[in-house]
């Protein structure tokens, strides 16, 4: 579920950084305005709690495989949307720096995917609506499951969009969606069950924790309009980037479609399974090298293979061999320099 740097383009990564940074700034302001200085240590410690809780496994009912808590929804139930969003974001920052979960550039995406949806969509619009103030256990479980599923579905879909818009992975949009959404449906149900289990345990053992949390984030104090607006802004921005990206290619939406169907073409051309392929043949003829065209800036050597026609295999092989040899030399050189530097450092001491 974590996006990784290696699959991101700078444009998508950068935009999502912007979106995440904006939401962090807005949430920080909101939390500061609440003037509840009790929350300062609470958010920190609960973040650490999520960190620890994510490392404890349990057996997923009826499957035998093990799962763990995600925690986005649970944090929101305990802290309210703004403080929870900041807490989730902080957990992701630590994970990206210390465990390479995701990566630094991918942080924006991950904060958005895993923080925004549970805190600003799933909790206020689904969980609170269904659970109300004094939910029965069944109602609480239902609310938690539905909210977790919706939050994770949105998050997963957002991962698909970001990956496809980046264009590093060749996974077609449709395949990716078919892969991601059902998996996250299952994860969402489990997350909902776990969240409900923890919330109902705590509300029996220490009701004031849950009650206090619900009171401090009553819907009245949550300006839904702002949430909507920021979500809209985020969507527009993401959409803008996708289309900006697409506009480098000949035909905006078509590009996206071509991406999906195009790779079908390649497989299809080989085994001839897909019936729809014939209809696409013409389009393929139009864009024989579409897959190379994207971000093939003229300045770079990558064009050497990208831009050329299919026939020039020999030439491509040539540049590739030269590149390969050069790469090896570079690697050797780099490590040699490192070795020398380290030797010098040690001898200085």
């Amino acid at each position: 579920m974590h996006m990784a740097d290696a699959l991101l383009s700078p444009a998508v990564g950068g935009t999502m950084w912007g979106v995440a940074a904006g939401t962090i700034a807005y949430s920080s302001m909101k939390v500061k305005k609440e003037l509840d200085d009790r929350k300062v240590p609470l958010m920190g410690v609960l973040g650490a709690f999520i960190f620890a809780a994510q490392m404890i496994n349990f057996t997923i009912p009826a499957t035998g495989s093990s799962g763990h808590l995600g925690g986005g929804l649970l944090l929101t139930i305990l802290l309210g949307p703004y403080a929870a969003f900041l807490t989730i974001a902080s957990v992701l920052v630590v994970q990206s720096l210390f465990f390479a979960d995701g990566g630094i550039l991918a942080l924006g995406c991950n904060i958005f995917n895993l923080g925004f949806f549970p805190a600003f969509i799933a909790y206020p619009f689904i969980y609170r609506r269904i659970a109300g103030n004094e939910p029965s256990k069944a109602r609480l479980t239902a609310a938690a499951i539905i909210a977790a599923v919706v939050g994770l579905q949105l998050g997963a879909f957002s991962v698909v969009l970001e990956t496809v818009a980046s264009g590093i992975s060749s996974l077609p949009f449709s395949t990716f969606v078919v892969l991601m959404q059902p998996i996250h449906l299952a994860i969402g149900v489990v997350e909902g069950l776990v969240t409900a289990a923890v919330v109902s345990f705590v509300s029996v053992a220490r009701p004031e924790i849950i009650r206090g949390a619900t009171e401090s984030v009553s819907l009245g104090s949550l300006p839904l309009r702002n949430v909507f607006l920021s979500f809209l802004a985020a969507t527009l921005l993401t959409g803008g980037i996708v289309s900006w990206f697409a506009s480098e290619n000949p035909d905006g939406l078509e590009w996206a479609i071509a991406k999906v169907t195009g790779s079908g073409e390649v497989t299809g051309a080989e085994d001839g399974v897909h019936g729809m392929l014939a209809a696409l043949q013409e389009k393929i003829a139009f864009l024989p090298d579409y897959s190379f065209k994207e971000n093939a800036a003229p300045a770079e050597e990558g064009v050497a293979y990208a831009g050329e026609a299919k026939g020039d295999e020999a030439a491509r092989l040539g540049t590739s061999v030269a590149g390969g040899v050069g790469a090896l030399i570079c690697l050797t050189l780099a490590f040699f320099i490192g070795f020398v530097l380290k030797r010098r450092l040690v001898s200085e001491k």
Partner: protein, 270 residues
């Protein structure tokens, strides 16, 4: 799945590296954070079929790790823990992208294979850069740098609190889960009900701890504001570091140095 104790030890080790004292360690954290960002952005800005041009970028992590006197084996091991994940994701590319690029002896190399290799190299570079940043800077300084680069204080304070209590809570979590494992007679996990109450207990203890910390803060006059001292400044050294590396990265982005070197060497040999 990583074990809790292992993860905590790992965290502590990386954190301890940052207490080292080298020219790189002494630089202002902002220079290092920004340089890392430029590095990552240039690396990922290559198109997906770029493979060889990525190699010259290894110069950066290697040089910094050497100057920062980091244990190479540890960093390599840490990076190699992430590579399998990149490999799984990258392996999808050859399945979907079968455009033939060239034949290398008996092997037909497709675009998918090249982009797969590219993803793996990208992973090694970006992940390595992140680890090295933390190892030569330390989380505290990274946070201070973020704050001085405009991150709201509420968020940096949150990061610092989180980081401080990760050590306390993961130990608490490890104790609880060890106790559960010892009583679950070898079965790997336990049901949802026991998990719910285990996590619930942990949560309640966490909550009480937060209340005690708040008490400790109030006892020392906390009024909602955090004060900190300025540790270092952004001087010529930092500027030189940032501009120097950035120039190199951009140059390597524009010119495929590996290609160029390879041609040169092959030309000399033939």
């Amino acid at each position: 799945m990583r074990s809790i104790d292992g993860a905590v030890l790992d965290l502590k080790r990386l954190d301890l590296l940052a207490t080292g004292d080298s020219a790189i360690h002494r630089l202002d954290a902002r220079a290092k954070v920004l340089t890392t960002l430029v590095f990552i952005v240039t690396v990922v800005s290559f198109n997906r079929y770029e493979f060889t041009a990525l190699f010259p970028f290894f110069i950066y992590p290697v040089v910094i790790a050497s100057l920062g006197n980091l244990p190479a084996g540890y960093i390599v091991r840490k990076i190699s823990m992430v590579v399998p994940f990149a490999f799984v994701v990258g392996m999808l590319n050859p399945l979907f992208d079968r455009e033939l690029f060239f034949h290398l002896g008996p092997f037909a190399v497709t675009g998918g294979w090249i982009s797969c290799a590219s993803i793996i190299i990208r992973t090694v570079l970006t992940v390595g850069a992140a680890f090295i940043l933390v190892a030569v800077t330390g989380f505290l300084s990274v946070c201070q740098a973020l704050e001085r680069l405009g991150t709201p204080r509420t968020f940096t304070v949150q990061l610092l609190f989180l980081y401080r209590y990760i050590f306390v809570l993961t130990e608490e979590g490890a104790r609880a889960s060890r106790a559960r494992e010892l009583r679950s007679c070898g079965r790997k996990g336990l049901g949802l009900a026991s998990f719910g109450s285990l996590i619930g207990h942990l949560l309640i203890r966490t909550w009480l701890r937060a209340e005690r910390i708040h008490m400790a803060m109030l006892a020392r006059g906390f009024t909602g504001e955090f004060h900190s001292r300025q540790v270092s400044g952004f001087g010529w050294g930092e500027l030189f570091y940032l501009v120097g590396w950035s120039t190199l990265f951009v140059t390597l982005r524009m010119e495929n140095a590996a290609q160029w070197l390879g041609r040169l060497v092959m030309g000399l040999l033939s």
